[in-house]
């Protein structure tokens, strides 16, 4: 009889304990980031969509040679000092964001950016981006994984 009542009391007590725990969670703030309106924090070392500075590029093709999946296409007009960049296209259906194109560049004209939202309504949209044309996010920002960006607080190095 004593153990029976103890069991019943233990049942009531543990139920109440569990309910109090979920109540504490109920009154905390949700951790959800509502994506299209709010965006989460990214490290400066985030490897998103490339940022490219066409004025600096010397058309050495080192990035294209370093690319393991051959997704960089470079076209130019003229030779020597008269050479002019006409196309610098990255095929994002191939690119694996490995950042191997960044390191060999002798003039630091290509960087990995913060932009990650590559979704589009049509299959062909946004798959190939020519960085010499248009003014997408890659033309304006310099928030890349460049040594000048410095270490983030949570880099752990």
């Amino acid at each position: 009889m004593k153990t029976y009542l103890e069991k019943v009391w233990a049942g009531v007590r543990t139920t109440a304990k569990g309910m109090v725990l979920t109540w504490k969670h109920f009154v905390t703030k949700p951790v959800t980031v509502q994506y299209p309106e709010q965006k989460t924090y990214f490290s400066p070392f985030e490897r998103g969509l490339h940022e490219f500075e066409p004025d600096k590029c010397i058309m050495c093709h080192l990035c294209a040679k370093a690319c393991p999946v051959d997704c960089i296409l470079i076209e130019e007009e003229g030779t020597g000092k008269a050479a002019r960049l006409t196309k610098y296209e990255i095929d994002y259906s191939k690119c694996l964001f490995c950042s191997l194109c960044i390191d060999p560049c002798p003039v630091d004209c290509i960087h990995m950016g913060q932009e990650y939202d590559l979704s589009a309504f049509q299959r062909g949209d946004h798959v190939k981006i020519d960085f010499t044309k248009g003014d997408g996010p890659w033309r304006t920002k310099r928030t890349s994984a460049h040594p000048e960006a410095g270490l983030p607080e949570d880099a752990g190095v």
């Binding site: 049942g11 109920f26 951790v31």
Partner: protein, 366 residues
Amino acid sequence: MQQWLDQLAGSGLLAGLPRGLVYTMGAVGACTLVLLFASLLAGEVVWLERRVAGRMQARIGPNRVGPQGLLQFLADGLKLLGKEDVIPAEADKPTFLAAPVIVFMGAFAAFAVVPFGYGLVPADMNVGLFLILALTSIEVPGVIMAGWASNSKWAILGSMREVAQMVSYEMPLGISALVVALLAGTLNLSDIVAQQEGWIWNWYVLRGPFGFVAFFIFFTAALASLKRAPFDLPEAESELVAGFHTEYTGFRFAVFFLAEYSAMILFSMVTAVLFLGGWSPGFPVDLTGPAGRWIGFAVLFAKTAFLLFTMIWVRWSLPRYRVDKVMYLCYKVLLPFSVACVVGAALQVLVGDAVGGAFGRWLMGR
């Protein structure tokens, strides 16, 4: 209701109509109102459940359809209406088709005797409490039919568990309701509320220890007969796919869903009426007037919402019971405690009368 219809029949546009037709129209009108109330509120309870569940898991929950996601249930309902209505080839067709109707009827018909406010009762009966317990049991054959007719092992296992659980939990449910019936001396729900008017300690949950324990037993047994977690063995997603409604799709599934949530609202209202003073707000105020009864309805609604929130809170707090533990809880814990409460309540009425009578005689003697 009948008095009001009599008044209506004796005046205005309806004066020339036969009395029977007026009654029929009144019944259909009341039925439509209650159906709208139950089904719309059930939709919002689904929304509430998902929002509360989200907050308890540090998420947000559905907040995109309509203001704060309030119209989510319409989107879900439309989606279910657009689904193909599949009837399994080996199913017992007439039984399969009848089952959701019977389950929904059991959940919905009992609203007829619930007092929404003073005089706002679709059918004011002397046997109201008994009728509610009887009508909610109609769900059991419906569930057996659904499980058997589906011709699927998940469905039959789920419906067997459901029947065992519901039939067992009818006992503590009925016996703890009997505590209130004893204390009130009536089965009429309007009279039971009338006896709890006045200050908050007139509510049966606070009138003595037996009402207090009976309240928790009633609520637990109601959770079990509603198949809510932690007693959701008949639907146990991780074990039985979806239990007895595994084979149901589209609108038929929606009917099962609606029945489940209307039964939740019904049991919350009945618990509020029996133990938490119904439309009485906890202090003496006259709510019998034409405007006051709607305030009473709002008070009852607030209590119902609190109990619905508690049901949802319990669901997202406690893990599911094992089958034998469910039966242990019913037969070895709730049943003895509820019987003890009935005996105690009977003594309370007896002693209370004796003491009250002696006190009255002492007062009169002065």
